[in-house]
């Protein structure tokens, strides 16, 4: 059982070593990276099956019993996040075959990419709060490398902002861990669940909770801590920004959900109300920021921010249905957002730019790409019957159920404004003729490159449609997962072996 939990971390690390050795060999390294992601997908799939069967799976590393050793633990939320990481990883690894140039490859793109996946999986699977910090660092250092790899001017500029602001957040995280340890004397998250209830000064606990909120808020890119994201995500190659857009901020959201359901639920009226206000402001600022942009990937970057608001909303409402919505939204969003970035990469390849004013004409010349854009774009905006509709439906219904009409209205209006941005991209990139009157056709790219570019887009779009048309099993899954989040007893039992 412990192998099942360790494999999603070990596989990308081992792959990273070998692709690093093969970095100057071209094709060999590329295919090994794809192979590594496929093995990761299998490992994540079997972990998913195990958690679906047994509820929560836990293993003590090195044989040290919890809460003294480091625990790896997967409940349904962790397992689905690892699975979706593997899916995104595989899609981007295939896309990277065509997208990453030989220079970046020889600098070690694939190795950094695999280490990033290992860091993300580790963060999802660890049951120890200090170990979570270490995985955050693994993920961060790999993302730093990926972001500035190649050293373009814009990349250095975006990189400096990304690196500095994220470093501040890690120091905040570390401070929070120190204070939490000082209050409770433990670092194991399941043990913390019981230990925080015995803390005498609950006011101090709220202070620590807010420090964690800020630390994870920077990672998750919530208002007003998101400025590093739109400053940097549009600078690296698409195969980098797609995996960033899909996964990195969601690790922050995951950490928020984990800590604010398992550890900091002592004063929900205080902490979760802050989260609610943050969620509303994040949604609004993100979508308005996107409306002001005129560059394909910058629009998408601001939409990441706005969509993060929806997930935080699910956590902040803290009802069973709202958490179902949050889990569903996480899964839906990773697929859709990574896909939109991949589409922007194909559009750039065909038309030569990300600037909306400099491109156009894709609807006429490449209708297939237009359809592949429409699916994730409409899903993002929440059109039925795509996955985004159900995600938004669950959250809006959850807020109406507890009569939070204002927040429901905000969620709906932001959805409407999302359509505005998506139609802007549609009109500028696809509908209007290309300003230089070229008609870029997909057939201009040679066969194998075209396949590598379109296959991941197609697969992710198919996944979106599947979730949209058959939402029931996915909602059922999210319900079980939300049940585990709201009642951590099973989680604690699995890690510590005793009920608290």
């Amino acid at each position: 059982m412990s192998w099942l939990l360790a494999l999603p971390i070990i596989v990308p690390f081992v792959t990273a070593i070998f692709v690093f050795l093969l970095r100057k060999k071209g094709a060999a390294g590329r295919w090994l990276s794809v192979l590594g992601c496929s093995v990761l997908l299998i490992a994540a799939g079997s972990l998913m099956a195990a958690t679906w069967r047994d509820g929560v799976v836990a293993a003590q590393m090195g044989g040290w019993p919890a809460p003294f050793g480091i625990t790896l633990v997967a409940d349904l939320l962790s397992a689905v996040m690892v699975l979706i990481t593997a899916i995104t990883g595989l899609a981007v690894a295939v896309f990277a075959i065509a997208d990453i140039d030989a220079r970046r490859e020889s600098l070690g793109y694939h190795a950094l990419f695999q280490i990033l996946l290992a860091g993300v999986c580790g963060a999802f699977l660890t049951g120890d709060i200090f170990n979570l910090y270490v995985w955050f660092e693994v993920m961060l250092i790999a993302s730093f490398g990926l972001l500035v790899l190649g050293g373009d001017k814009a990349q250095m500029d975006g990189g400096i902002k990304y690196v500095t602001l994220n470093l501040v957040s890690t120091v905040m995280f570390l401070t929070g861990i120190a204070l939490l340890y000082g209050l409770t004397g433990t670092l194991n998250m399941a043990d913390l669940h019981g230990a925080v209830q015995q803390v005498e000064n609950q006011g101090l606990l709220s202070v620590v909770a807010v420090i964690f909120m800020i630390a994870f808020g920077v990672k998750a890119a919530v208002f007003p801590l998101f400025f590093w994201l739109p400053a940097s995500y549009h600078t690296p190659p698409v195969a980098v920004s797609a995996v960033f857009a899909g996964l990195l901020t969601k690790v922050g959201v995951y950490a928020l959900i984990r800590t604010f359901t398992l550890i900091f639920n002592h004063d929900i009226a205080y902490t979760h109300n802050i989260l609610l206000a943050v969620a509303a402001l994040t949604m609004i600022t993100g979508v308005l920021g996107a409306a002001a942009q005129n560059e394909f990937r910058k629009i998408l970057s601001f939409h990441i921010v706005s969509q993060i608001g929806y997930m935080i909303l699910g956590l902040a409402l803290y009802t069973p249905l709202a958490l179902v919505g949050a889990v569903f939204y996480l899964v839906h969003h990773i697929i859709v957002k990574a896909n939109l970035f991949l589409v922007s990469g194909v559009a750039k390849r065909l038309t030569g730019s990300f600037e909306l004013s400099a491109i156009g004409g894709l609807y006429k010349s490449s209708p297939l790409l237009a359809v592949l854009f429409l699916i994730p774009a409409f899903s993002l905006a929440g059109f039925p019957p795509l996955s985004g509709f159900w995600a938004k439906f669950l959250l809006v219904k959850a807020s109406l159920e507890i009569e939070a009409y204002l927040i429901a209205a905000v969620a709906l209006v932001v959805g409407l404004l999302t359509i505005f941005s998506m139609t802007k991209i549609w009109a500028e990139v696809f509908w209007k003729p290309h300003p230089e009157e070229i008609s870029p056709e997909l057939s201009m790219i040679d066969g194998r490159t075209r396949l590598a570019l379109l296959l991941p887009v197609f697969a992710l779009a198919a996944l979106t449609v599947t979730i949209g048309l058959f939402p029931e099993p996915f909602v059922m899954f999210a319900e079980r997962s939300a049940g585990q989040l709201l009642d951590p007893a099973v989680y604690v039992q699995a890690v510590l072996g005793v009920t608290r």
Binding site: F130, G182, P230
Partner: protein, 132 residues
């Protein structure tokens, strides 16, 4: 001892915030180093200080016979120092590379990735671009 260390931490944080509010990225980085050292000290203090009781187990024992210092915060601090050192080394090189390619350390002038809609034409900004 705890009070003394707490005051020191406060001083470090104050100095680091002052440095981090500067527009010069290098100053920001020095502020960050101070802040991460302050965080390390917080871990140390949070683990409670037990002076003159090294956490060693004498030969023949399986557990220390009397009260010893908490060893866990030391392990945590050691990990945090190593990670912080690595990240800081990377950040320094990044800022140096950024200075080489962007020609400035002023975060207000770094606008290659996010150009202003209309080129800012204040003479001050232009001087700073030239590094004056």
């Amino acid at each position: 001892m705890e009070i003394l260390l707490s005051l020191l931490i406060g001083l470090l944080v104050a100095a680091s915030v002052y440095l981090m509010l500067a527009r010069n990225v290098l100053r920001f980085l020095f502020g960050l180093v101070l802040l991460s050292n302050a965080a390390n000290l917080i871990i140390f203090v949070a683990g409670r200080l037990t002076p003159e009781a090294p956490s060693l187990v004498p030969e023949g024992y399986s557990a220390p016979p009397e009260l010893v210092a908490n060893a866990l915060p030391q392990a945590l601090v050691l990990t945090a120092i190593v990670i912080g050192f690595g990240l800081f080394a990377f950040a320094l090189v990044l800022v140096y590379r950024g200075y080489q390619s962007l020609g400035t350390l002023d975060s207000d002038v770094m606008r290659v990735a996010e150009p202003l809609a209309e080129k800012a034409s204040s003479p001050k900004a232009e001087l700073e671009v030239k590094g004056l």
